[in-house]
Subunit: 217 residues, 2 copies
């Protein structure tokens, strides 16, 4: 059985590997719920649409590996991946924008289950300010920097129109927030010490229309 | 100036490249609106957070390249990327699931602007069936296969709970649909001739919590 050191690696893990860690963790949790205690790299690969070699390479970032051929311990690997992905902590999240996308994200239950707690919601629509999204009162953007600091926000989700996104994010950065998840359809600029992920809802759809176009030629 | 052949390549373009094509197209459309007629690979790279070499490699999939050093023609490259991404056509899309995520996707204006028309909405909630989402009447899942065929659906967006997603997708595949965009938090299985993209709303968030955890060590 492969084992893992308790020490979490401090070397940089490639983004694509970290993304696959999220998927592996989801599969491992499924296996755990089904009472499966060991899993081979090939099984993880099959679930994730990748190769066993890729799984082994990804997991080699997590430290020492034990006996070959017996697979990975499901509980041990689950634990290590949770730690590496920062899921031992809970995170205080602010949502900027309480429109359709923002509201859907707010109510997306898996976020909370993973420890991402949206404790602050900001919107500049005077009709929304003061009303509630779940148990959170929607606040005006005026005091944004103070609010983010007072609420101890770790991570901001941007779900505002493209034209206002950069100026808001500049204020988020000035407030000292170090992680931004951007759903606005615009490329944002942040300093190097701020982690930024852009989610484009069009990219996946366009990769499908590309596939359809190819298959019909 | 670099030029492109009119012939669209039939060789397989890597998924990561196709995803970057979506981003390049967005930037090119911005440049076009600003009246910029030529753009260097370095400028595209800068906007997209990648390298000029990567941009040139990606665009080399699009055929012959003209004079070096003068950059790409914004209108010509826009046109070719639109064609390669299948955006010269309009696509008939069915949305499975009219919950929070489904509704947000339905109302996401850029989908329509790109030619992805959600013409069919299916939900199994009897309180929703018969009511309208925009100008589309929500239909029951019972006649799913017939509905997809009658409506001439090209592409299906799955926004239903994880436990019902696979059985629904099996019926989507049986109806002959060749492209599936999956928002359900489960890995779906489809035959090789069906294009599938999974969108996990957790993957990006977990890659940020990973970055935060690393930076705090």
């Amino acid at each position: 059985m492969n084992t893992f050191t308790n020490r979490i690696p401090t070397n940089r893990i490639p983004d694509a590997t970290v993304r696959r860690f999220s998927l592996y963790l989801r599969y491992l949790e499924d296996f755990g719920r089904s009472g499966i205690s060991n899993v081979a790299s090939g099984v993880l690969a099959d679930r994730g649409g990748t190769t066993a070699a890729q799984v082994r390479k990804d997991l080699s970032h997590l430290g020492s590996v034990g006996k070959r051929g017996l697979g990975y311990s499901v509980p041990a690997l689950t634990r290590v991946l949770r730690t590496v992905l920062g899921l031992d902590s809970t995170w205080r999240v602010a949502l900027l924008g309480a429109g359709r996308i923002g509201t859907a994200l707010f109510e997306y239950e898996p976020f909370r289950r993973r420890g991402f707690n949206i404790v602050t919601v900001i919107d500049n629509d005077p009709c929304k300010v003061g009303s509630r999204l779940g148990d959170v009162r929607i606040r005006d953007e005026k005091g944004l920097q103070c609010v983010l600091q007072e609420d101890g926000i770790d991570l901001v989700i941007v779900a505002v129109p493209a034209r206002v996104a950069q100026s808001l994010v500049d204020r988020v950065v000035a407030a000292g927030v170090k992680a931004v998840l951007n759903y606005a359809p615009v490329q944002l600029r942040v300093p190097d010490d701020v982690a930024l992920r852009n989610v484009s809802m069009l990219v996946e759809l366009e990769s499908l229309s590309h596939a359809l176009t190819r298959s019909r030629q």
